[in-house]
Symmetry: C4
Subunit: 346 residues, 4 copies
């Protein structure tokens, strides 16, 4: 089984839910929510692609970073590369249903561990899906992170307790799910949170608490004040609000403000190793990855996921060699040029 096989199988098994395009740019699947696309005219997904593509690497060949170390420590856990599997649910509704929800979450969690990293599991209008994720984390002896939809606080706290029981490394909410149509359609209200509500959540557990869906400096500062251990700069893959900015448009300003005070994760169109390097250079501590992991799971279960992540690791290493970064903390702004900003000096 190689990468090409996995992608071909995934394409076949996803029956058009995802076309596994040559360029995963949000064009073919625009509007497919449920499904794999961006919502509305798909402009947020497309901007995620476009903005990240406009960030260019500075090739560098004279240095001694011949065998870079790609590992990082996140939530006191060493992982082999700064990439964590993103929380994804809805195998039937979004991906075509070739895998059951449990099969999908097992593949994501186990494949990630096999590849030397960890996965987040998700929540959904169907509460069974959250349980499926916890089941996978339990099987992995707690090596996983449970992400809960921004439901009423009492419901979230209930779910946090279940995550603690499963031994999860960390918990959190994907507050960017506040506008998810599928949740509302199923009578399970979600919404934004106030600072006070967030404080109640972070103080309800001893686990590191993650707030996913931060897209402006003001919210990043509030997340820190609320006691979050980590934020995820994410617009939910362009699936909740059409026409918004990309994570790579806002990450640099956010990092300028909160770097060091909170773990910064970035999520959006990570499709190759160089994308990880770009997000780290913009200020992230690690990235999340969703769609390629789905291809891995659909194309080859946990081994498919491992293959996908191993490939990211190789590509990242190669990109680090060719930009002169001997380890992740050596990756800084000098390694990239942001053409989105229009002006550049090398």
């Amino acid at each position: 089984m190689n990468l090409k096989d996995v992608k071909n199988l995934a394409r076949e098994r996803m029956k058009g839910y995802c076309r596994v395009c040559k360029e995963c740019n949000g064009v073919a699947c625009a509007g497919e929510v449920p499904g794999m696309g961006g919502c509305g005219s798909g402009e947020s997904f497309k901007r995620n692609y476009e903005s990240l593509r406009n960030i260019k690497l500075v090739l560098k060949t004279i240095h001694d970073a011949k065998d870079p170390d790609t590992s990082v420590e996140i939530f006191k856990t060493k992982i082999d590369l700064p990439l964590i599997t993103a929380p994804v649910t809805g195998s039937s509704i979004n991906m075509g249903g070739y895998l059951t929800e449990q099969e999908y979450s097992d593949a994501a969690v186990m494949g990630s561990i096999k590849a030397g990293t960890i996965a987040m599991t998700g929540d959904s209008a169907n509460p069974d899906f959250y349980i499926a994720g916890l089941n996978s984390i339990k099987k992995a002896n707690g090596k996983g992170i449970a992400i809960i939809k921004p439901r009423e606080n009492s419901k979230i706290i209930e779910n946090i307790k279940k995550a603690e029981e499963s031994g999860a490394l960390a918990v959190g909410i994907d507050i960017d799910g506040a506008g998810l149509i599928t949740m509302a359609l199923n009578g399970q209200p979600v919404g934004p949170k106030t600072l006070e509500e967030l404080k109640e959540l972070t103080s309800s557990t001893n686990l590191p608490f993650i707030i996913k869906g931060i897209m402006c400096v003001e919210d990043a500062v509030l997340a820190v004040e609320a006691g979050a251990s980590a934020i995820v700069v994410s617009n939910h893959g362009g699936r909740v609000l059409n026409n918004c900015l990309a994570p790579s448009d806002v990450l640099e300003d956010i990092a300028k403000e909160v770097k060091g005070k909170v773990t910064i994760l970035a999520d959006g169109n990570v499709r190759e190793g160089a994308d990880i390097l770009k997000y780290i250079a913009l200020g992230a501590d690690a990235v999340l990855c969703a769609r390629p992991i789905i291809w891995g799971a659909y194309g080859g279960y946990d081994d498919g996921v491992k293959l996908i992540i191993d490939n990211f690791k190789n590509e990242l290493k190669q990109a680090m060699i060719l930009t002169g970064c001997k380890d992740i903390k050596s990756i800084d702004k000098n390694k990239i040029v942001n053409l989105n900003k229009g002006i550049f000096n090398i």
Copy 2:
């Protein structure tokens, strides 16, 4: 009847006059005047689309705007959302004629009221069309606004009187119709107006007077001086002058100058709730909407129009939740980033 049905029916009934494209961007219908397109090579319509698309929303999730109020008061009338149906005529010449002129204007006026807002009715080379609009306003007990082409002042004043008789809330002229080819072809001259001529019009009635077709600061200032109650920043959907700027290119500068002195309406490519939010953030008090209303009317008469507007309301509410706006007056420049300007700070 749902939105998809309405659009499909509209596409069928409009027989190619409008293709109801996935992206309504002015490409397929370029040059189709009469018809639904922009004039000439369609560049003004295309720029309207492009400029608005380049204005991005700032996703915000930590706040207490959980149930935003979308209502506003315009011309002392409370409407459920800051969207007014634009004046449109020519059901046969522009839309294919499945609806009679009277059916179209009834659908627009009644559907708008059913959805909690109001419609403007229009004027045309065929003077019967203006009467059709007034008929609809009468049926609605005056809940509507009559917009008159920029004919000779005496002719306009005559039409204003008729509008007063129909009980209309307000009247106005779409001065951007000054170059309409279809009017000239029918021997009904239209043209620009001097300040003095505008003063004569505004002082001829006690109704609020609207000047539609303001695209530069200088004209906005003159409109205020002429005694207008409202201006509409509009290039007539790109149908009168090829190659001109988009409303979203000029709105911010205009609002800087006249906001508060006059009601500012914006008109151009409003296709989803987020577009309303963008125009409000740039300085508008409300927007006009034309082509989607036509789809509603052609796809389902007044109920189709209501469905279209209700959908805008839901989308706007969702966009307000995800940008943290508890009411319309909370929507300001911090909610958007204008990529047309090339530089941005979040």
Copy 3:
């Protein structure tokens, strides 16, 4: 015979030499020299299109310019609109040969006069073509301008004398033809000129002398010093040097330097009335037009040319009404926004 018929006939008669595309943007015909395209990869033609399209008009509706005067005086001759037919030769080699060279130049010269303006005639590797142009000018009692290729000075002066004999209003050289492949292939060397050589040319005649093919400030200043009466800002329709700037990229800077000292003509992708307004706003006194005139001639001889020019006149008038310009000298920088420059204030 209407505009559509003329274009359709032209398309048919040009047998693919020109496709008379919906958008005349240099894409379909890239590399077709001989033919109607830009040379090489066609980038200069494409840039001409793109740069001009990025210049936008400021719609203005409150003013008294209800019946603008489009006329100007050029070379002491009043013309009905600031558009002169560009010098074009090679009916067989470039256009497919449906018209003989003499038929083409007659149509261009006579059609222009019928429409209230004048034409330039051209020169070519085949010296008969220059004579054909002079024949047309003679038939028109001298109402035309003879443009000569940048041959050796002695040869040019010989041709100037012939033009004088034909009674031409003015003469000149299209110095941008310095790199024409077709000339070199036929053993008729052309080339750039020094200041001294230009002085010899301007002082050899009492007629106004035009230098066509000025694309930088330095050359514009030299042209004035050489005694030219007029310059044409032109890159020869993108047909001599691939990858160069567009006339609309350089015109403003050139006008800043030499406006008033010399008549400034602009040449490049004039396809509708608004394009004339744009070039005037950037600093031109009038424009040249080539490809549409060819369509007119091929589609309807002199009457086709007249139809094309009359249409330009109507469109220009309309554009002047909608931008508030009562005459050509009222057209200034405030009427346009140049998006090529990236920043704008209305």
Copy 4:
């Protein structure tokens, strides 16, 4: 045999390995490594094309540069134009194998000499290919340059000695090959070099030493410090690292720092004579050319290569005439406008 024939034959003989597209822009062949494309999604190749296309020439027609001299002296060798054939290997793996490796390198070396310039030969995972190149150089009595992959220093020095024995004019390494997948796959490790390692290489030979693959100012300065005679600003045709900047993005800054201290060669998407002029204007002393040379070799062996280079020479001369450059050292920044920088003054 003419240029068109050569390209058609090449297209046929390369059996899809290269489509010899109308525009060689990296789109059709994206990801084809091995093959002729850029690696990954091909973004680096595409950026090379796009960045260079955005650099425009300033057409100039009033001057005395009527018969420009295109020759330069590089490595104390006078060549007829500032273009050197780039090192390329892998006729079977990358080009389809119609030519044997020896046939390809003979065509490149001999064709270049026939056209008045010289070629670089390359190195590969298959060590025989390096020998093939040296064979060609030997046949040419040493008129060629041997470029070695960035292997271990001892291996490079061994190869330098062989190059000296073949009489090569100069030697070097293509350090941008540090990440070549094909090398790693064949167990022949390559990598970046430290300053000390480079010093060891430059001091191991009396031949001029070239470092190919410099893409930032810092590396350019280090190359000078290491004792290099020349650098090549190159991203290996976009074949080693996806998403990096183009040579034309970085050349100007590099030249500002090291011009005069080291010979600067530029490599990337040279497809016509004007491209040479652009790179020289940005600061290069000469350019390398790869893909068109391959078309020449595949379409017509050494005569095909000569035809390609002769055409470059003619086009360069033409571009120099039309920009007013009487010799290569007259080509400076005033001859171009870099639209990548967004602002321009002529």
